[in-house]
Amino acid sequence: MIPKGKIGLTEMFCLLFLSNISRIFLSFPQAIVEDGQSAAWLLALIGSLGSLVMFWVITLLMKKFPGKTIMEATEQVLGPYLGTLVNLSYAAYFLVVVILFEREYAEALLASALPRAPISVVIFIFFMVSLAGLFFGLEPLARTARLATPFMLAFLGLLFVAVLPQCDWHNEFPLLGPGLGPLIFKGLYNYSLLSEALLAAVFMPVFQGWPYMRKAAFYGIAAGSLLLVALMFIYQGVFTVNVASEEALPFYILSRIVYLGRFFQRVESLFLMSWSIVGMFKISITLYAGAIVLTKTLKLPDEGPLILMCAVLTFALSFLPPDFPTAALMDKNIIRTWGLLPTFGLPLLVYVFSFFRSSQKNIKLLR
């Protein structure tokens, strides 16, 4: 079960931060460039602001139900049937994220470093990673994230500094790209999705209180978003819009062009370590969250067996997409299109309904 003890603010911040930045290593930045063109960084910024607003809704919901998880709050507000259905949608969202992330990360690894390795081996490694929650639980994962974060930041900082000489700032113009209207619409609709707010709401009991949850998740999301905006700015500066929108793995390509003298060049393998570790965090924590949601929804005493089952399920389903482009397309069509429903729509619904429920309760109490 979710550990009874409390996890520190820094540890949870690091965990949510690493979970948040995992998307920048896949084809997410390429999609942003495709839609935002020369204003890709602005699109990312608008999307990030939108995600902060959505996160705010979840924090308000959690504030109304202190000490409870989002599953308990949902069930309390929507009742046992509808509540269970909504909770299952949260679990399904997490599991779909794991399936697609496992596949995309495996494909990215094959493309960048292990061209001759069978994909089943790489996905099996991610399967092993997804069992980390089963073996160790949330607390060690959060502590490991706390240890790993400085290294990740150092790697990213190094990369940004290393590619700066190749940046051409003229690529940032026109500043507004396709125009402010489309940017705002696409930013809010397609790029404001984030699962960290929902993650924080699932792990609510491990925070020392609602303000801590708000703080950790807010800083985690904000820092991750800032990093995304910076990456977009640099990525766009290094490559022109046309080139940038065609690269499937922008981060890999960016790390590949590092050239600081003859000795420090082609160090993408070095960065591979950092982004594969971030991917491991994302997969293990998301699967753990999915299993926790299912456990709570099905009123089971322990999430251990469910983690194993979910891990096997995601491992098997991640083989379904025939290739990387299909997996990336599924990411866009499924997660980024429908993902807003469990991460924002349903929590908003629960929050709105919670007012009616509480007013009904008050009426009953008055009678």
Binding site: I7, F136, P140, R146, L147, F263, S269, I277
Partner: protein, 653 residues
């Protein structure tokens, strides 16, 4: 198969008990009682061939009967020697009758008959339900020997039986007369090799035999009290009446003095045995700082700590370890700093150990650590008193075992194991530089060979072209794949290391150099390995030795092979996977309730200087993760002179 009737069952049981009675132990009531001989000095001589007469007349065979009057209420009744008048024989027989016969632990399984349930054996029940504690560590020979008798001969007989005298040559009984009027027979019992002979001669025998003549005071009613207060100059004299206490002290080098007509024995502290002097630490050497290391003597070690912490709050609790060897272990802590829960936990763990033989703190460490299956050591073992003192001042608890020059300090964290006491003795910049080098060496020790294999097998593109050509050129003649090459060299390195430790003295160094030359130079010339790999293995080896904790060095060296395998299979991705699980495993560990990777993960206050060395005046708080009773180590402004100077400047300005 019907029910067996109770009568048939009873008959069957009685027959069985009779058969068992024939083969079980019974005291021989008709044999001669104990034959007492003079103290064993003569036996020693006879053994050495000085007195062949004794060989002609060997000492009478000792009685195999039970120790007389064990557990008896009438334990004062004496045993009888052959030179005693025959009138005492009846007395002796009465003792035998009263004596409790020891029983062999033979248990008969009897069926419970309905309605006639026998009373439950309370002793068995209490054994099974007894809470774990120091009772479990009571000596192997912990049978009851009863109490000291008023009869000296009886006491001697008991001691003969306990120590298997005169066969056992380590224990000496010296009989003499107290110089009182009238003279009183007495004997001193001490152990050869454990007791200081000069002390026995000058502080016990001389005062009791000679100096008591000078004392004109009349003997009071209680002879033992009189001798203790007026005749014995020993600094630690205790009175015991239970043989169990006396034997425990004699086994530890004390001398017991028995007197005729006295129901108590005086136990005088005369410990004195050969031991290694306090010398330089062998493993944790420093340049700046104290050069004292622990030795094998417990009291010398506790003294070394007391020498540095002159506080009345420093508490030393003692407990016994090992059922057979009964070694002392000291648990030391500052009772106004250390968390009482931690102290309680340490004592609970140590007292709960049930083992026959624990002879080193390394064994004790394995008994009390939280995660026995983990590679990483969770308890800090150090041979430096100054390091122990610094950690005691933080609120940790130290465990020192007799016979072990390594003290254990709990709880242990990874960062603490990467520190040395010298870090703090050096100025912050130097200390920080040293710690950074050590951090580098920590990672190098287990990652470098794996990274090398990964780069050579999977990520050749990241090597600059010139270097790549050089490596390829060097590897061209090598017939093995890189992984075989690396495993070969790493195994050889481990071989040299192990051989260097085992081969005595100067040879060890020679083997190290010869091994390195042979395996390095010759292996390269023979095209078995490439020169770059020699550099990799050498740097890795050096890095592993730069890690200050001996146990951690082992952990890193073993982990290195796992990373080589992962690197060979999946390159950097494999190493990332290894790191992910390795760190999670360590993050899930706790040492006595303290997370292993704190103060980094989880982050905690007061952990300044975990990675870098903070200024000494910045260490204002004790580590928060220890939850000390007094969190503040020094005031916010610890350098009082700065404050004073500022005030002075203000007043002048």
């Amino acid at each position: 198969m019907g029910d067996i009737s109770p009568i048939r069952e009873g008959i069957r049981l009685s027959i069985f008990q009779k058969i068992m009675g024939f083969i079980s132990y019974k005291p021989n009531q008709n044999q001669e009682p104990f034959v007492l001989k003079e103290h064993s000095a003569e036996d020693n001589q006879s053994l050495m061939g000085i007195s062949p007469a004794d060989q002609v007349n060997p000492p009478p065979v000792e009685s195999k009967s039970n120790p007389p009057a064990a557990n008896s209420k009438e334990h004062q009744a004496p045993a009888q020697s052959p030179d005693q008048p025959p009138g005492n024989k009846t007395k002796f027989k009465s003792i035998r009758k009263n004596a409790v016969t020891p029983k062999r632990p033979v248990k008969f399984k009897t069926k419970k008959q309905p309605g006639t349930q026998p009373p439950e054996d309370k002793s068995d029940q209490s054994d099974s339900e007894k809470p774990a504690g120091s009772e479990e560590n009571k000596p192997d020979n912990s049978e009851q020997w009863g109490y000291v008798s008023y009869d000296l001969d009886y006491n001697k007989a008991v001691i003969n039986d306990i120590y298997d005298l005169p066969k056992n040559k380590d224990f000496i009984i010296r009989e003499f007369y107290l110089g009182l009027t009238p003279p009183v027979r007495a004997m001193a019992l001490f152990m050869e090799g454990m007791s200081d002979k000069n002390l026995v001669n000058l502080a016990i025998l001389q005062p009791l035999m000679v100096l008591t003549h000078l004392d004109g005071n009349p003997v009071k009613d209680n002879l033992a009290e009189f001798v203790k207060e007026q005749a014995l100059p020993g600094h630690e004299v205790q009175l015991f009446s239970d043989f169990k206490d006396i034997i425990a002290n004699v086994n530890y080098g004390c001398t017991a003095v028995f007197m005729d007509g006295c129901g108590q024995a005086l136990v005088v502290e005369t410990k004195g045995w050969e031991h290694r002097q306090v010398s330089k630490p062998l493993v944790e050497g420093v340049i700046r700082g104290p050069q004292e290391g622990f030795s094998e003597t417990l009291r010398a070690n506790t003294g070394l700590i007391r020498k540095q912490i002159r506080s009345n709050y420093l508490t030393t609790e003692m407990c016994k370890l090992g059922k057979i060897n009964q070694l002392d272990a000291a648990i030391m802590y500052l009772r106004n700093k250390a968390n009482p829960t931690l102290v309680k936990e340490v004592i609970k763990r140590i007292e709960s150990i049930k083992s026959d033989f624990i002879n080193d703190s390394g064994v004790l460490e394995q008994f009390i650590e939280d995660h026995p299956y983990s590679l990483a050591p969770q308890i800090i073992a150090t041979e430096r008193p100054d390091r122990v003192c610094a950690m005691l001042a933080q609120g940790r608890v130290a465990i020192i075992m007799d016979g072990s020059p390594f003290a254990l300090v709990v709880p242990g964290t990874l960062f603490e194991q990467l520190h040395t006491s010298e870090d703090k003795y050096l100025r912050p910049a130097y200390g920080t530089a040293v710690r950074l080098i050590r951090t580098f060496s920590f990672y190098t020790a287990f990652l470098l060979p794996g990274i090398y294999v990964s780069v050579v097998l999977f990520h050749q593109e990241m090597i600059p072209t010139d270097l790549l050509l050089a490596i390829s050129g060097a590897r061209e003649k090598v017939p093995f794949p890189s992984i075989v090459e690396v495993l070969l060299m790493e195994s050889s390195f481990e071989l040299i290391r192990e051989a260097g430790v085992r081969i005595p003295g100067a040879l060890g160094n020679t083997i190290g150099i010869v091994g390195a030359l042979i395996l390095g130079q010759a292996a390269v010339q023979a095209n078995i390995v490439s020169p770059i790999l020699i550099i990799v293995v050498a740097v890795t080896g050096l890095a592993s030795f730069a890690v200050p904790n001996y146990s951690l060095q082992f952990a890193l060296r073993i982990a290195r092979f796992a990373y080589i395998a992962l690197g060979a299979m999946l390159g950097f991705f494999g190493i990332a996977f290894g790191l992910f699980y390795h760190i999670i495993m360590m993050a899930s560990q706790k040492s006595f309730g303290v997370p292993y990777l704190t103060p980094a993960a989880p982050q905690s206050k007061g952990g300044r200087g975990a990675l870098l060395r903070a200024f000494v005046w910045n260490h204002e708080f004790r580590p928060d993760y220890l939850q000390p009773l007094d969190p503040r180590a020094q005031p916010r402004i610890s350098r009082g002179w700065v404050k004073m100077r500022r005030k002075k400047d203000d007043s002048q300005g």
